[in-house]
């Protein structure tokens, strides 16, 4: 694979910047420690806030020793439901699909362990921490409802954000009962916590009716409006800065209670206030991936063709809000079947409300679906790859629409070849390595939708031959500072080092949401269009100016490159941007652009990124310790703007697959409802030793329909496919099918 990809034809032509494996433009800031994250801000007169966390999961706070906290030296203010100022919006209301019900000290109810129940503001972090401890809350405790058995079941009106809770096509019952081979699979997935390395943090400062906040945020303008709403000020009065996000993975897209509390406190004490969550506080009010309990049934004919596929998922949510993992919907778009059913139910438990976490719905659903598919292949006696190819969906199984582009076959081929899949024995328990370890090989298919969000950008061509491009992009590690600048540079027809790229605050036009793997496509599209529009304005000037060598070329007859406009039919006639502006007596020329997708294409096509992941595990035959010794994936995700960044995202996602399969699990005490492993010692994220060899390969894909740039996302797909591949490899090593994640060493004991 060359490091530089060829630009596919079929949609807009990008210039020489996109497609380059550029290193990160923010690299120096990051390696020298000068990149500023929210908690690094220390405005003058800063006060520190710490919230007290509920020690029970359900009930009421009946007393708080506010006196003790207040009389602690350096404590400035203690905020409880008794003295909390009113908010303009009800924290228990839902103003739009991206707003969650939050805890803003509205009353003394406790809905989950770790919920904020009071806020202490002090001169120092230590004093605030001690003040919070001195509150010594007493509770009226109701029994906690933890786990699927103990929660309250209900039928959710929607899954994910506005997703369909049920789907049916064809006649499942008949298809299944007429099938030659019938399998069932039950798979549980636990609550998982995002645990970005950067804990949530906010620094809030009021100046009259104007609010300035530094807080990591994946959807800057959306958040601006929401913050403004709670405090009853116009959105323009909120300045939100989020230049660097220390990992988000979904948890920093939606406002959370502690942010509101900090802003409230800043207003009350009339000083800037900083609030940084401790790691243990990351296991309550800032969302998580909800647990699921999934059941699948698959029927096939004698040749291994799927006749019926059913995926039922129960997901847990909080007692007071709804976010349901749409796990069952992972079965709608992957494998061809004449009959498909997906159904969801939900259970309310006493935890914080779940939210989107890297590949919401898809990750959990794929983790179960791929096990079921493997079982179906086993029932037929077929190689798992051959089985998947046999059931390859040429059109979207759910809608019947053609795919905008689908290169899954190429992904299977490339990854299988790199992995050496063809040497795999069919039966489990056949392979040992030179150290006597059990070896198993498994695979999974990866899929993720390609959504887009409304996004805007501005491009300004300046007389000094540079350009300013602006959009409120969010860089949480995916490399927006770099990839977006590359696209923007091509939009304005300049080398990327002549671009000034402004991003990450509300001062720029709305870049939409950095989520759903749609940010590069959405914000990138806007930037490109803004640049093209600015260049167009410049071309209008030049071609209408008799003194320009481009005079009379007509609008469509010029090309922009390296800061010059060229006549399309005569390369020798050209003029620099600077000269055109100079003659026109203009300092600059600017234009807006917006990203989006042709609605006709949305209507007509199904749009997904695809991939295939192959896993090798090695398992100690006596101790059952599991190691993923190799994980190789190939992915097709439209046009790749920067192969380095794309591979980083994909391998990052695959490592999350390892975490999902083997480690990550939030455990709550059944009785008290308190999290038992609310730290990084107990909640295991993968370490280096867990990931000896993880490799992501890119498959060129030309998608002429997905958007003008042909870009799909790479941020989330890596986790899908990987989880199931590992579980299937464990089966292949041991003959034991997995029924719950993470795969415990205990589970392999006979």
């Amino acid at each position: 694979m060359p490091d530089t990809l060829q630009t596919p034809a079929g949609h807009v032509r990008l210039g020489s910047n996109s497609g380059q494996p550029m290193t990160r433009r923010d690299g120096i800031a990051k390696v020298t420690g000068t990149a500023t994250y929210a908690a690094d801000n220390r405005p003058d007169r800063l006060a520190h806030a710490v919230f007290a966390s509920a020690g029970i999961a359900r009930g009421r706070v009946v007393s708080l020793n506010v006196e003790a906290a207040k009389s602690h030296p350096e404590v400035i203010e203690v905020i409880t439901p008794d003295n909390r100022p009113a908010l303009h919006l009800d924290p228990d209301g839902k103003s739009h699909p991206f707003s969650w019900r939050i805890e803003a000290l509205q009353d003394n109810t406790v809905r989950y362990a770790g919920q904020p129940i009071a806020l202490v503001v002090a001169e120092t972090l230590e004093a605030a921490t001690e003040g919070a401890r001195l509150l010594a809350p007493e509770y009226d405790t109701d029994p906690a409802r933890i786990g699927f058995e103990n929660g309250e079941a209900y039928d959710p009106p929607a899954v994910g954000i506005g997703g369909n809770p049920s789907f049916s096509k064809g006649d499942f019952d008949t298809g299944f009962s007429n099938s030659e081979h019938r399998i069932g699979a039950s798979v549980d997935t636990p609550a998982q916590y995002h645990n970005a390395m950067e804990p949530h943090a906010i620094v809030a400062e009021w100046s009259g009716d104007h609010l300035t906040i530094d807080t990591p945020n994946q959807a800057i303008h959306l958040a601006r409006g929401a913050f403004a709403g709670y405090f009853g000020i116009p959105p323009e009065n909120v300045t939100l800065r989020s230049p660097f996000i220390g990992g988000g993975f979904g948890s920093k897209a939606i406002l959370v209670g502690p942010q509101i509390l900090a802003i409230m406190a800043a207003r009350m004490v009339d000083r800037p206030v900083k609030l940084v969550l401790r790691r243990d506080q990351m296991f309550g009010p800032v969302q998580h991936r909800g647990a699921t309990r999934q059941k699948l049934r698959i029927g096939t004919d004698g040749n291994g063709l799927i006749k019926a596929l059913e995926h039922e998922a129960t997901a847990s949510t909080s007692s007071f809000d709804d976010f349901i993992e749409g796990a069952g919907n992972a079965s709608l778009n992957m494998y061809a079947s004449p009959a498909i059913v997906a159904r969801h139910s939900a259970v309310r438990v006493d935890t914080g409300t779940p939210g989107p976490m890297r590949a919401p719905g898809e990750a959990s659903g794929s983790a179960a679906l791929e096990i079921a598919i493997d079982k179906a292949a086993e029932a037929v006696g077929m190689d798992p790859l051959e089985f998947r190819l046999r059931n390859y969906a040429e059109t979207d199984p759910a809608s019947g629409k053609p795919f905008s582009a689908k290169s899954l076959r190429e992904c299977y081929e490339l990854a299988a070849q790199k992995f050496g899949w063809s040497d795999r024995p069919l039966a489990p328990g056949q392979m040992r390595d030179e150290n006597g370890m059990l070896v198993g090989w498994g695979m999974g298919s990866a899929l993720f939708p390609a959504p887009m969000f409304a996004a805007q950008a501005r491009a300004t061509l300046r007389r000094d031959g540079t350009a300013l491009v602006e959009t409120s992009g969010a860089d949480m590690g995916q490399g927006a500072w770099t990839a977006l600048a590359q696209i923007a540079a091509d939009g304005v027809g300049l080398p990327v080092d002549r671009i000034e790229f402004m991003s990450g605050t509300t001062d720029q036009p709305d870049a939409g949401v950095a989520g759903g793997s749609g940010h590069t496509a959405s914000a990138g599209g806007a930037l490109f269009e803004a640049g093209s529009n600015a260049v167009q304005k410049l071309a209008d000037l030049a071609t209408a100016d008799p003194e320009s060598p481009l005079f009379g070329a007509g609008n469509t007859g010029v090309e922009a490159r390296e800061g010059r406009l060229f006549r399309a039919d005569d390369e020798s006639r050209s003029e620099s941007y600077a000269d055109i502006l100079e003659r026109a007596g203009l300092e600059r020329i600017d234009a807006m652009g917006s990203g989006g997708r042709d609605p006709a294409n949305t209507e007509a096509r199904a749009m997904f990124s695809h991939g295939a992941v192959f896993a090798e595990v090695k398992i100690d035959p006596d101790l059952f310790q599991i190691r993923v010794s190799r994980l190789i994936g190939a992915f097709a995700a439209g046009r790749i703007i920067n192969p380095h960044l794309a591979k980083s995202q994909l391998t990052g996602g695959m490592i999350w697959g390892i975490g999902f399969a083997l480690h990550e699990e939030g455990i709550h005490d059944l009785r008290s409802g308190r999290p038992l492993n609310a730290d990084l010692a107990g909640y295991h994220v993968p370490v280096n030793a867990d990931a000896p060899h993880v490799e992501a390969l890119l498959v060129d894909e030309d998608d002429p329909y997905v958007n003008a740039l042909g870009i799909k996302g790479v941020g989330e797909i890596g986790i899908t496919g990987s989880v199931g591949a590992i579980a299937n490899a464990v089966w292949h090593a041991t003959g034991k099918r997995i029924s719950s994640y993470p795969i415990h060493i205990d589970a392999l004991l006979s």
């Binding site: 290193t23 990160r24 923010d26 690299g27 120096i28 800031a29 990051k30 390696v31 020298t32 420690g33 500023t36 908690a39 690094d40 220390r42 972090l125 230590e126 921490t129 001690e130 645990n195 970005a196 390395m197 950067e198 804990p199 660097f244 990992g247 993975f249 940084v276 401790r278 243990d280 030179e434 150290n435 006597g436 949480m476 590690g477 995916q478 090695k618 100690d620 006596d622 101790l623 310790q625 190691r627 960044l645 980083s648 391998t651 990052g652 490592i655 480690h663 730290d679 990084l680 295991h684 994220v685 993968p686 370490v687 280096n688 030793a689 867990d690 990931a691 415990h744 205990d746 004991l749």
Partner: protein
Amino acid sequence: MNITFLLNGETVELADADATTTLLDWLREERGLKGTKEGCNEGDCGACTVMVSDENGSRALNACILFLPQLNGKSLRTVEGIAAPDGRLHPVQQAMIDDHGSQCGFCTPGFIVSMATAHRNGARDFDDQLAGNLCRCTGYAPIIRATRSAADQPVPDWITDAPVTATANRFMPDSSDALAKLYEANPDATLVAGATDVGLWVTKGLRDIDPVIFLAGCSDLKQVSIDDETLRFGAMADMNTVRAAIADLHPSYAEMIRRYGSVQVRNAATIGGNIANGSPIGDNPPALIALGATLHLRKGDQRRDLPLEAFFLDYGKQDRRPGEFVEAVSFSRQTDRLKCYKISKRFDQDISAVCGCFNITVADGVVSEARIAFGGMAGIPKRATSVENALIGKPWSDDTVDTARAGFDEDFAPLSDMRASATYRLETARALLSRYFAEDRGVAGSVLEVQP
């Protein structure tokens, strides 16, 4: 306490420094050096890694569980002090940019300091050197690549600091004699060795531990002596020092320590602290008990010795009197028959679910001596006496081992917890005995080594 240290080349003198302010809080909140990040505040993530140097060399340490007085007489470099004052990048910084080792970048400062410290020490075991730094974005491979690609470049001169003299303090004794006197007079004081436990009492448990006696200045307690008869470790020997000292004599023990915490934790954690804390899951006690170690305790001028296993009375209760401290631990030179198995859920940076240590001597085909000790199987580190008895005097054979395996059920009634179930723990203990036997017999060679 009054302390003196170098911070990125500049002398810092603090008068009346609070004994339990962590370096991380001081750096970020008081000093305004915000490059060093807080990811967990309990030693698990390495985002706060700093480089601390003295006459013994440079070490990476976690600033979040390092109290200011522990810096007395040291030179400290934070991420702000890794590039040259004129802005030239350190080779590891350039390599991290070139190899895309940074995504969201939040873990990056910690990695940079770990990498620069490893680079300065000429360390080549890159995976181990970075095992204490968590990254949620990259998947580590690019970071390891960057570390490797910078390894051959010279250590930049600006990284080296001049030595500093520590400021004298009453509660920072400079010898074990001074400590003995002080502690006897202040038996209620909390001793702080490496602070990898005590640090958490403060940052997580919010405990008030005043008054505090810091042991860091007692250089005689750091001594390791090995002669023909005995190996003796001063209580303040840190885990990396212990690891190096036993690498040739008891390689399996050394390998277990490789997986103990992380570089940062091992650089701080002391063998004395790991024993004195009485933890049922400490990794040293089972190994030391299996080796037949003796614990040396001291109170004032009185010293007493006891077999290490006798020190652990019950969960949370040790045979240590007010004002008495651990001075050293020792064991006899012996032919290496020791195998240590640290079984944990995650391969690196994980507390053991079970830590089993076997030291079985065979003479003329018959088991002459057996010392088997486990962590994680009871409320204290504990010997498997029934198993030992079932082995001693018997032929070293499959049959004997099969029979002896049942002894674990008599020796231990482990609990189920997050790390493992009781069944798994017992099953593992039995499997480990069989594995020890198989390895000893050379069945499948050394093949069935516990990975990695």
